[in-house]
Symmetry: C4
Subunit: 256 residues, 4 copies
């Protein structure tokens, strides 16, 4: 295997689908949201993507069977003339620099094939501080999308993002911009220290408004409660990291 | 040398051979087992595999001659209509991400050439704790293999393997699954701190049951006794690492 | 995207242009100078260069729109028969070793296309010590350039540069030397700890003499004043790093 | 530049030349010896080798001119029917894993072109302890060379070299073995902490015996005296590192 392999699992016709990308990243916010959508809508796996740029690793399922790490695309066909979806999920993002570019090229080819006109990439924005923020920060590759995001409660252009957006959620916006395919990134504010189902809820709520689908939050709420109990237990034991003091480096940081 | 080079040392016809992979890894468990089998059965080297993905290194033999690091395949032809074997051993696994995928592709080509229907990959499962566990943990790329492994004393699906299986022992299962070639991984439980001939014995015993060959354990037993003496000496000197306390990170670990 | 992509934004004819390269580096000295020149001369963007060797990242603008990281070439056409310029700027240098060579090859192709006869690469020379030095250190790929640099106040051959010059500013000199295209590197002495608009002023002044253009320093002066205030505040708070004592390693350093 | 570039500087006919490789490495022993030979014999540069696998760097000469990092081959044509030589020197070894294999392939092509029948690679063997050892450790890719090395005072097969030989000095032996081109590696015992002209003297003496050329040691002796003075000064100041105590890891080290 020297190149990306695209394995077609099922043929499907979709009507103006939107792509939602939720690969692993900060706080696993995007992954939690994307997997929640797949489960709740009963979306079907239609494509598996394998690449030598993923780590050389298999996942072991609870019954002892394995799965080669990959990215997968699920399709949701709305019964009622509603919004069709393609959802990108996976075990890992690329382990190499060049692999990110190659894999995003692959996603874009698939987007073109399905006539996709809009992509939402999902992620977390790590602040380094424990909080229960429900804020969502957005970025777009077409200024006309700003108002749509704002009307869904997403903060756009209100905060300086010095590090930009790294990985698929950012790169996909950049590469789509070159072919004038509209894409927006929704980042749930999170500590960056742990999986954050609470932040995922906020992102899911905003995304739901944007794509016109109302999602049940039950599972994510339960997971958030579980997570809060763990954090509380650890805080009582003094094991939760404190936010670091701002160092002078930030004041003098390089001007991008 | 810009690509993998396959050097044929000897032609041989085998009857439905099984592949056993024992490259270096955790506790060198797989390597110990595979080299023990080669020695005991008098298997012959038939193929050498060189690759720019291996470290740029030579091994120096005790007489001052050298050997370019490689992977090698040994063949065992049973005299008595017994089980024929192909055994993969080597000095190193790939030093690069992509190299793992390329080398596994090479092993699979060779498996096809010999009409292989089953592969066993061998490794260690590092717990971070010194113990004399004889447990073996298994994983399979076809659920029909679970019962066979269990009947040989291998624990399958009893333990969560959060990190999955990294390297050739895992990747080979994943890549074989894509072409429906049955493969199972046997991992001896070991500390991960040192070479573990005791764990290797357990793996060899289980593997012997699975492939219908009874192995003499003498050499591995001797090495295990030697190793225990060293550990004891070090423990008396206070030099053996204690198992680390579980950190809160593990409780909150990302959900795969 | 598996290769470098050159996107032409605008066609332009230039008369014997000189190339000025100011990509991010030590103290962002080169970047500050190049961006200052673009702004002051009103140079126009004519080329965008994208590469899988750049980090997989987008920059987020203050209005929430994004920009895929790239390198860009701006052109300045002098009205008055003065010196035409091509200016190379960007968000990042290559993230991989090989990428540096590939990207420099690209710059050289563009240089040939425009009939460029001279290149100035700009950077910082980090001393590890806070100072207000206005020194500029130069290096050339043709000994005939030494006197020109000296007459512009650049120190050439007065100081041992043990680490050589790493990155585009150095590599471009080396690769141009192979095709006998004259190139010189101007490095402003700087601490290496922070963005240094003061050092950028010195470089800009020397460069101005070399290319026969007088630049207004106002913006850089203001930025330098701002930066000095920050440093002063930090020094009062005891937060500015002291220069490290020379370690014995430097005395015994390997002879290049 | 996406591939290795071989630049021919001068055509020369040699009579059964031996190759001597002395690229930078442990204690710069090989580099010191090779450069000493070039200087003393007045060998001429005939080939320059450039590669995107070298660091993206230029060396700055004392007069301010630069040199793109490369590897170079010098030729020595003996007047008196003596031994002709090809000497490989350079600023760096490959910065990437695959680059080592590619560059060694290049050296071997050049060896074939000149009808080379023997290669000596030179390096240092770092012990981690300051000493004035004059020992030389050898390794060969053909057992018939062992006695020749021993008769020149080189220890072969007397010491376990657990890490093998890493980099060009080892890889060249391994890759030459595959085409049955005789090669031997001479490693001067050294601390590994600093440039070691004393160890270089020992290697040069042994190499001289092997190739039948008597070298003047004057320059290396002077450099060794200088280096000893520096070490003494540092020792008095308490700045020289002490050898580390052997850790238990070495006792239990993985069996190759």
């Amino acid at each position: 295997m020297k190149a990306i392999e695209i394995k077609r699992i099922k043929d499907i016709k979709l009507n103006n689908p939107i792509i939602i990308e939720g690969l692993p990243g900060v706080g696993h916010v995007g992954k939690l949201v994307a997997e929640h959508i797949i489960k709740q809508l009963g979306a079907e796996k239609i494509i598996e993507i394998y690449s030598p740029h993923f780590p050389p690793q298999v996942i072991v399922n609870s019954n002892g069977t394995i799965k080669l790490v990959n990215n997968e695309i699920y399709a949701y066909k709305a019964d009622d003339g509603g919004q069709d979806l393609l959802i990108i999920v996976g075990d890992h993002q690329s382990a190499t620099n060049e692999g990110h570019y190659e894999l995003c090229s692959t996603y874009i080819s698939i987007a073109k094939e399905f006539g996709v006109k809009r992509i939402y990439t999902l992620g977390g924005y790590g602040t380094g501080e424990l909080s229960e923020s429900t804020d969502i920060i957005g970025a777009v590759n077409n200024i006309e999308l700003v108002e749509q995001l704002k009307s869904a409660g997403v903060a756009v252009g209100e905060q300086e993002l010095n590090a930009g957006i790294i990985g698929v959620s950012g790169l996909l916006l950049g590469m789509c911009m070159q072919i004038e395919l509209d894409a927006a990134c929704l980042m749930g504010v999170t500590s960056g220290y742990m999986v954050d189902p609470k932040s995922a809820q906020s992102v899911l709520r905003a995304l739901g408004k944007l794509i016109g689908i109302e999602f049940d939050m039950h599972d994510l709420e339960e997971r958030a409660v579980d997570m809060m109990k763990i954090v509380e237990k650890l805080q009582n034991a003094g094991q939760v990291p404190q936010p670091e003091l701002q160092s002078y480096n930030e004041d003098l940081r390089y001007i991008g």
